[in-house]
């Protein structure tokens, strides 16, 4: 399933506002002593489409996860939209996360249950816990789920078991799950690393449309340099937890990439080779 389709503007239900992101001198050291980010400062205006490139282990996933508080910072501050992430706990943190959509390399779907139930996960932040416990969803939540699926062209699969989908379909369901949140920011951690090239392009297209037509801020981790150049406007290069490049993606040169990667560029650093 690699058909190209449009993410329709009509599917914009909640009219999300787009948020900017500011990192100030952020460092992250994991409990086992690994330092994954070193003094990272970053300003991303609302509505930008940004790629983060770097070798495996350079800290891309960590960088994305400090933005929704999945990984707490060791020092420094993170602000997303009007919120200071580092200060939020419990309910407030969950509310913030509700405004930040996230998609993953492994799709992170519950394979044994339906697409519908998986996308309903995107409504958690706005659903009282007792409602989830009883397993009853509101009319509005259901509409948002259908709208999210519709905008990635997966509405006809709404009752299918997630395990019966192809990789590309799974990633679109994951995008629908994020869209059902009505997010202001979209984070994507290597969203196409498990997909074949045509499917990878169609998923990147979905992300571009989300950025273009909804005006959402989109951050996407990539380890393939041609995808970064083709789909994003700004590129951030990470190496050993430090930002070593930050500029327009289209203008990045071979030597910029060699600097980011710390080695000559190989053919498998690109999708099309």
């Amino acid at each position: 399933m690699t058909d190209q389709h449009e993410v329709g503007p009509g599917s914009d239900v909640s009219g999300p506002t787009s948020w900017s992101i500011h990192l100030n001198d952020v460092s992250v050291t994991y409990p086992n002593g690994t330092t994954a980010l070193r003094n990272v400062s970053l300003d991303i205006p609302a509505g930008e489409m940004v790629s983060i490139v770097g070798l495996s282990g350079s800290g891309k996933s960590t960088l994305i996860r400090v933005m929704n508080g999945l990984v707490p910072v060791t020092t420094g501050t993170v602000a997303v939209g009007p919120h200071e992430v580092t200060h939020l706990r419990g309910r407030q943190l969950r509310q913030l996360r509700g405004h930040i959509g996230m998609i993953f390399q492994g799709f992170n779907l519950a394979e044994r249950t339906s697409v519908f139930r998986n996308v309903m996960v995107g409504r958690f932040a706005d659903t009282p816990t007792y409602r989830t416990l009883l397993g009853v969803s509101s009319e509005r939540d259901r509409d948002l789920v259908f709208a999210g699926l519709d905008s990635v062209g997966m509405l006809d699969k709404v009752w299918t078991r997630a395990s019966d989908l192809s990789g590309g379909q799974k990633q679109r369901v994951a995008i629908a799950r994020a869209l059902a949140q009505g997010p202001s920011v979209m984070l994507a951690d290597e969203p196409v690393a498990s997909l074949d090239p045509p499917t990878a392009h169609s998923v990147m297209n979905d992300l571009r449309h989300i950025n273009g037509e909804r005006g959402l801020t989109v951050l996407v981790n990539l380890h393939l340099i041609d995808l970064a150049q083709q789909y994003t406007t700004r590129m951030i290069g990470l190496r050993a937890g430090e930002i070593v490049f930050d500029g327009p993606a289209a203008e990045a040169t071979e030597s910029n990439f060699e600097h980011i990667y710390g080695r000559p560029i190989k053919s498998n650093d690109k999708l099309a080779n």
Binding site: F146, A147, L155, V158
Partner: protein, 273 residues
């Protein structure tokens, strides 16, 4: 499947949810059987609410002032139960390993395999207590009876584990021995044994853990050990002694579980490397 043309807010049609008739029917049947069974049981359900209070009252009788004076006797009986369990486990394992191997696919002849498996199934279905009741007439109300009962009653499951373990090993090693002209005994010694030894050792310890619990049960019908002591003092309604005995049973079982479990994990981890 029919498509219910339910109008979504976006003017797209949402597929009708799949029929859950089968699931609903199954749930109704299960629920009905449960309720009918509960209603037919000779239980005054109104009385159930008083049980927590009862248990609390008796719990207080048992545990506020446990009778530590009889602890030496309790430890003696505990050792008796442990001995029954240990020797029973040895007997069970020694019998099950050859029998189980013979019952595995590709080892013994078919008629033998089917006969043995039928015997195992029958032993599995007969409660240990029944086997013990039969043995009583030969060996009397002694721990020796308990040990024999544990040894025999466990064969059903233990031998099943053995043949399942043998059948789950790769075909390569047995084939090599058969190719080199080996007989059944050689096959067992040089191909089957090395491959299944860690699993079988682990199962043997597990049998010991199971026997620890069952030996207390056999004590209740007079085979001696902590179970017998517990029945006696329960019949005398000497609650503070019962409380002490329960503390001893629980502590001993938990210590043995933890120790045996740790050894089992080490064996299985060693086997993986």
């Amino acid at each position: 499947m029919t498509v219910d043309e339910k109008a979504a807010p976006l003017g797209v049609s949402i597929p009708a949810p799949p029929s859950r008739l089968g699931q609903t029917a199954a749930a109704v049947v299960v629920g009905a059987v449960l309720l009918a069974s509960a209603a037919d049981l000779d239980i005054d359900w109104g009385e159930v609410w008083s049980i927590p209070g009862q248990i609390q009252r008796y719990g207080r009788l048992m545990f506020t002032d446990p009778d530590w004076e009889r602890l030496p006797r309790a430890l003696f009986e505990t050792w008796r139960s442990i001995s029954m369990a240990w020797l029973g486990a040895i007997l069970c394992v020694v019998l099950s390993i050859p029998l189980g191997m013979l019952a595995a696919h590709g080892v013994g002849p078919t008629w033998l395999r089917l006969t043995l498996r039928a015997v195992f199934a029958v032993i599995r279905a007969v409660p240990e207590v029944i086997i013990a009741l039969l043995l009583l007439t030969v060996t009397g109300f002694t721990p020796f009876t308990g040990m024999l009962a544990l040894g025999i009653a466990g064969i059903g499951t233990q031998a099943k584990w053995v043949y399942e373990a043998v059948e789950s090993i790769d075909d390569g090693a047995p084939e090599a021995v058969v190719a080199a002209g080996g007989a059944i005994a050689e096959l067992a010694r040089w191909a089957l044994w090395p491959a299944v030894a860690p699993a079988l050792t682990s199962f043997a310890l597990y049998r010991f853990e199971i026997n620890i619990r069952t030996s207390a049960v056999l004590g209740l019908i007079g085979a001696g050990g902590i179970g017998s002591m517990l029945t006696n003092y329960t019949n005398f309604r000497q609650w503070n002694t019962v409380g002490m005995l329960l503390v001893v049973v629980i502590t001993a079982t938990m210590i043995i579980d933890a120790t045996s479990g740790r050894i089992r994990r080490r064996i299985m981890e060693g086997a993986k490397q």
